[in-house]
Symmetry: C2
Subunit: 359 residues, 2 copies
Amino acid sequence: MTKKQYLLTPGPAPIPEKIMKAMAKPIIHHRTPQYKDVVKTVNRDLKKIFKTKNNVLTLTSSGTGAMEASVINALSPGDTAIVVRGGKFGERFAEICSAYGVKVVAVDIEWGARPEPDMVEKVLRETPEAKAVFVQLCETSTATVYAVKDIGDIVKKTGAILITDAISGLGADEFKMDEWNVDIALGGSQKAFMIPPGLSFVALSDKARDLIKKSKLPRYYYDLGRYEKLVEKGDSPWTPAITLVIGLGEALSMIMDEGGIDNFIARHGRDAEFVRKSVVGMGLSLFSGFPSNAVTAVRVPDGIDATVLISALKEKGVTFAPGQAHTKGKILRIAHMGAITRKDLEFALGKLKETLEEL
Amino acid sequence: MTKKQYLLTPGPAPIPEKIMKAMAKPIIHHRTPQYKDVVKTVNRDLKKIFKTKNNVLTLTSSGTGAMEASVINALSPGDTAIVVRGGKFGERFAEICSAYGVKVVAVDIEWGARPEPDMVEKVLRETPEAKAVFVQLCETSTATVYAVKDIGDIVKKTGAILITDAISGLGADEFKMDEWNVDIALGGSQKAFMIPPGLSFVALSDKARDLIKKSKLPRYYYDLGRYEKLVEKGDSPWTPAITLVIGLGEALSMIMDEGGIDNFIARHGRDAEFVRKSVVGMGLSLFSGFPSNAVTAVRVPDGIDATVLISALKEKGVTFAPGQAHTKGKILRIAHMGAITRKDLEFALGKLKETLEEL
């Protein structure tokens, strides 16, 4: 027996035994009624997670594939997009836009801060030609949750659409696609969904669909129109990642059994609060001014290198994520999403305290 | 206990217990030495399968994603490409080229035939501006193996590159990327590789790399240059489909244990020959003039609807693939790839014979 490993990173996150077993069953063909029923159920349950009446499309790709799909389906070369850059994933949206000839008007904010709605409002007023506003729900690199609802209230009054990368936040942080006026919402499998990486999710509003009709960027694999035509039939344009979709079906049924998405999010809120209180109790400080319920970023004390701390913890079976870019060595990130339990967190935080004392 | 199901379709194909178990182990993070070692071993072993000195890049996508990657990395809008269209997957290459503004000069051949090298030579002579020639190794829709070696001999003398979709053929039909002068070779996970769908593979020659430098099509997720920079370090630009890559590592080690790729292909050749002889012995005829070792397409006798036959066999636990497009109802396709055993084939062919007699 190998010692239990505590993988507390914001993707991949641990996968429950029940889901692993579902994925390890003999594979079935994707053009069968049996598999199509799984896809239909997955779509039905994903709508509950996204809080939307729109279909949720499942793509075989990393989350970055869904981010790219949102850009190339909605926009045209020469279009202008407003991109909030408050961390690595905001930067990624800007990079994708630039790669496709979309002009980026960046709303640059300090890492760990969130975009204040009036900043977005001001930039939108100054950029009436903007076709889209890109934000994160949770900016994973800084563990910060953005006020997507407030931004939605502003964007809905304009001709622009609101594209929200909810990849790491979905299922952990509150999210209401329709009520918050989000036009394109993105998710990823390896987060609170409790399954391995390899799937991403996209849902489109009517306003997004109207813009898509005018989009002139070339696309084929990520042509969302092809997926939209098939999803209600339980079908997809290309061979899907069958076992991951089967696992997703199991995961969604577990979320529903936990009392549905609201209860699931509430549990994440309690666990996140527990982690925040615990680290503050150790004399540490939070990196983010608006901490997410999916992941907590913690500043390490002066004189301690987070990289050394993370390595020492790994020796003890506890894996935290390091900081990215300029935060590397200065912060560590503790995920509390999906199948990560309060007991796992208690154990990991105990080891963190112990190791900090040792260093 | 449910009855054993015989899934004899050209993707997904059955997955050995050993591989399912490897994929069901607790997930590990992809930025760890442990996972990076898997990626390095996978690259080393995939080179043996592709018979190439070039790195083999693993993408998180369906095979169609790799097809698209070959187009958007190598070509520019307005470029001309020669595309052999002898079935659904040749047509797909043409569609992808068209979607990206690449002019298609089609070499249209009858379904079940293969492109004769002199046809390709003639079209290349008449189209000196062609930047690429697209062919399949095995055209899955017709179960036909193409003479890629002979086509490579022709293309290498020109400025064009040879792009080969070896997705369904690789591991079953002979393939030698370097010796045959293939410039971009593509593979997919759910075929002879014995793992679920969700991964695709791309290898690039130096000639392809030179063309890629000049390519002006936009790309981000499928920007192969990003993958090339990281693969030798065991890394990838986006979060990979970790469990599928772990399964791939196990599958490649099983192929090596079977005596390596040549023995593996030889076994496929023997099983394919057995299937061909058996169906001909039943009085059926082969659909393809150049049958692949991955899959056999069989014409059903006049007066029998292949769709009815396939449904009746499914009731008995045997799943064959139907024909696609105009061959639907007229042929059935029997896969004999990867983990499909001689015993499975004997059972399935027995049921085929029995059901034909019943109908």
